[in-house]
């Protein structure tokens, strides 16, 4: 078992050697690629490969086969295959990013990874450091593919790894938005807030007669922890420095946690699991819910026509979500070329319009908004046009590999803080734990 497990490793050490030679070759010929690739690039040394014969690529994505996401994704695949008869695309969908990441880890460990994977920056960084990826810049033959500049600025920034490698390509993004119960807003004479202080006042004002202003899930991967990060960033200090070091003990972060503690003590904030904000809003027990813009369908479902939703951008700094695509170096040159074709296709304005209208994700480029495929969707959902430009300024967590783990520690601090622990000491613990992870990883 041990020997077997080591085989892929030995193989890739050899591959890394080959990559080094390839990189030298590239530099000598002054060809594209730009030397940012590190040890990650592999077999494709020559000029850009193009698809010459029939080729099949596999894509592991987080778009559950059966949902509206999955259905729209299949539509994209069919459209792509019709345009590129040489290429067959097989999607291997998982229910969520957690399962997808676990599966990809097992697959990489066993050496049977797909051509294309999907995930968040931090996980992608781990893959790259393990020498498993081929950078987008290598595939495109340039550090700045033409389409890159058409993306929203926030989306562009999200595609790079700490070493400056352009390693990912986007498909759909979401922002955190606030869903309000319109009737409750107007009954209380309130308006949607544009800063966090007003937001808190609104929540407190609405919290009476069995209504709790807002309900959040303080565990990792969902809205609560992101809200905490947004509060801190709005106050001037993000949760992480640009090198990925945690800044959990900054005064901004302490104040952010105290803000939420204060709401809870005033009865304006409750906690739950499984999208509790959606549940409370739908049950007319909450004024507002902070959630992903891609969750609009579910919010509406929970509301069930009992009242109208008002959807606005989150006050002040917003966080962006939505995993990117990346390409594995184990794929053949033909597959890599085909994968790049596919990534370009789905991120193009026309397809982004179809994708957004079908799934509720925000398009990654503003050019999609003027496409005909999107016009009726935008008419039905006027809030989309209002919030989408937030993708220019939205923040994400930095891509260092430990950041993913540190998110769960910040979530623990949030939970501790909301169940009575002093904000400073809860955040101190998280800071220590995150630094331990950081040290273990570097």
């Amino acid at each position: 078992m041990r020997i077997r497990a080591n085989v892929p490793g030995t193989r890739s050490r050899r591959a890394a050697g080959a990559a080094l030679i390839a990189a030298l070759g590239l530099a000598a010929s002054a060809c594209a690629g730009g030397g940012t690739t590190g040890a990650a690039s592999t077999t494709s040394s020559s000029p850009l490969p193009t698809v010459t014969g029939p080729v099949t690529i596999t894509i592991a994505d987080a778009y559950t086969a059966t949902s509206s996401l999955g259905k729209t994704f299949s539509k994209e695949i069919s459209a792509f295959e019709a345009k590129n008869p040489n290429i067959t695309v097989k999607s291997v969908p998982e229910a969520n990013y957690g399962t997808l990441e676990t599966k990809l880890k097992a697959e990489v460990a066993a050496g049977r990874q797909p051509t294309v994977g999907q995930g968040y920056e931090s996980f992608v960084d781990q893959l790259e450091l393990s020498g498993k990826l081929v950078p987008i810049s290598t595939l495109a033959g340039t550090k700045s593919p033409a389409e890159l500049s058409t993306f929203y600025t926030g989306v562009q920034k999200d595609l790079y790894l700490p070493d400056g490698t352009l390693a990912m390509w986007p498909i759909g993004k979401s922002l955190q938005v606030v869903f309000y119960n319109s009737s409750m807003l107007s009954a209380g004479g309130l308006t949607a807030a544009t800063d966090w202080n007003t937001f808190a006042t609104d929540l407190e004002a609405a919290s009476k007669n069995g209504v709790t202003g807002i309900t959040i899930d303080p565990s990792a991967q969902t809205s609560g922890e992101e809200w905490l990060e947004e509060l801190a960033a709005s106050d001037g200090t993000a949760a992480y420095g640009s090198d990925g070091s945690p800044q959990f003990t900054s005064s901004a972060m302490v104040k952010a946690l105290q803000y939420l503690q204060n709401l809870k003590s005033k009865g304006a904030l409750a906690t739950g699991t499984n999208y509790p904000g959606e549940t409370a809003l739908g049950g007319q027990k909450g004024l507002a819910d902070i959630s992903s813009s891609a969750g609009y369908y579910y919010e509406n479902q929970a509301v069930g026509g009992k009242f109208k939703l008002t959807t606005t951008a989150v006050p002040q700094t917003d966080m962006m979500a939505g995993g990117n695509f990346f390409v594995f170096s184990s794929a053949t040159a033909q597959q890599q070329a085909a994968a790049w074709e596919f990534l370009q296709f789905v991120a193009s304005p026309a397809e982004q319009a179809v994708w957004s209208a079908g799934t509720g994700y925000l398009p990654v480029t503003a050019q999609a908004l003027t496409q005909s495929a999107m016009s009726s969707y935008l008419t039905e959902n006027p809030w989309v046009s209002q919030v989408v430009s937030g993708l220019n300024t939205a923040i994400t967590d930095p891509p260092q590999q430990w950041v993913d783990d540190c998110g769960t520690m910040l979530a623990t601090a949030l939970q501790a803080g909301l169940s009575g622990t002093n904000a400073t000491s809860a955040l101190n613990t998280a800071q220590t734990a995150c630094l331990q992870k950081k040290q273990a990883d570097s």
Binding site: A106, T279, Y298
Partner: protein, 306 residues
């Protein structure tokens, strides 16, 4: 743990559970408090009430599953069905449930069969045969119980890849095709079986395997029933393993379908309630049809540890 600790013998073939439910109501409680005849009725009513409390969550799930849009989201909770089947049709159309269901049925049955075979053979070896290294082998097998399963997933995935079992029925059946519990249960029965029975048969010239089949297997039948039920349910219960080991709906079991029902951006509670109901319902029906066997199996577990 030495094997001698395992020797607390069951009485061979003794199956205390059988018939227990039918034994006449005679004894202590009634004798003492018998003066008041209402006592027995009260006890019955209390028992039924408790039983209803145990099954109420299932009923409530059904209520949620037929609620009108936004139905779950109210307080006090709805306790009477609203008979809106739209959640059911929405959930039903979300996934190939019948396929999932047949997969589960096939995987669970095959696992049970394999487990019965391996348990009888190994239980016979450990209980009857004498051979070198038996004790160490038994300790090794027992140690299997102690390892947390989650940690084995990645090494097992690597192995599964090497033997090309990823995304097949095989990987969902074979690794679960031996049960420590089953082996020691069967062994327990054999240990206490009069040696002469097995010996006599051998002298008669019957092959060992035939002895095992004709005399051994019938004698351990209650153990087999218990193993079958336990393994069947364990197989039905597994989800992390098949979720990692399989990709295609062609081979995935129903619990994976259920656990992947909610997405990253929201959850459809009435739809999920409908899915939980119609995936669990066949199992409940199956249980009710075979409840006598289920219960007898569980009851006989007591006999095997005496």
């Amino acid at each position: 743990m030495s094997s001698s600790t395992l020797q607390d013998a069951p009485r061979p073939g003794h199956e205390p559970g059988r018939g227990a439910p039918r034994r006449a109501a005679r004894p202590a409680a009634r004798r003492v408090l018998g003066a008041w005849r209402g006592w027995s009725a009260l006890r019955k009513a209390f028992a039924i009430l408790l039983g209803l409390a145990f099954v109420f969550p299932f009923y409530w799930t059904f209520v949620i599953s037929t609620s009108r849009p936004g139905g779950f989201y109210r307080f006090p909770p709805e306790l009477i069905p609203e008979w809106d089947w739209s959640n059911w049709s929405r959930a039903w159309n979300e996934a190939p449930w019948i396929r999932f269901f047949l997969n589960t049925l096939f995987i669970a049955s095959a696992t049970v069969l394999l487990c019965l075979v391996t348990s009888v053979l190994a239980g016979f070896a450990f209980g009857v045969l004498r051979f070198r290294g038996k004790k160490s082998l038994m300790v090794l097998v027992l140690s299997v119980l102690m390892m947390p399963g989650t940690v084995l997933i990645i090494p097992d995935y690597v192995l599964a890849t090497d033997i090309h079992w990823v995304d097949t029925y095989w990987i969902q059946i074979v690794p679960w095709g031996a049960s420590v519990f089953g082996i020691f249960l069967v062994r327990q029965f054999f240990v206490t079986m009069p040696q002469e029975i097995l010996d006599a048969a051998s002298v008669d010239g019957a092959g060992r395997l035939r002895v095992l089949w004709h005399i051994g297997v019938p004698a351990v039948r209650p153990a087999l029933l218990l193993i079958a039920i336990n393994v069947f349910m364990a197989s039905w219960n597994s989800f992390l393993w098949p979720e990692i080991m399989t990709n295609s709906t062609n081979v995935q079991p129903v619990e994976v379908g259920l656990s992947t029902f909610s997405s990253d951006v929201g959850t459809d509670i009435p739809g999920l309630a409908a899915a939980a109901t119609f995936t669990t319902l066949p199992l409940i029906v199956f249980f009710l049809l075979l409840q006598r066997h289920f219960i007898r199996g569980a009851l006989s577990a007591a006999g095997s540890v005496k």
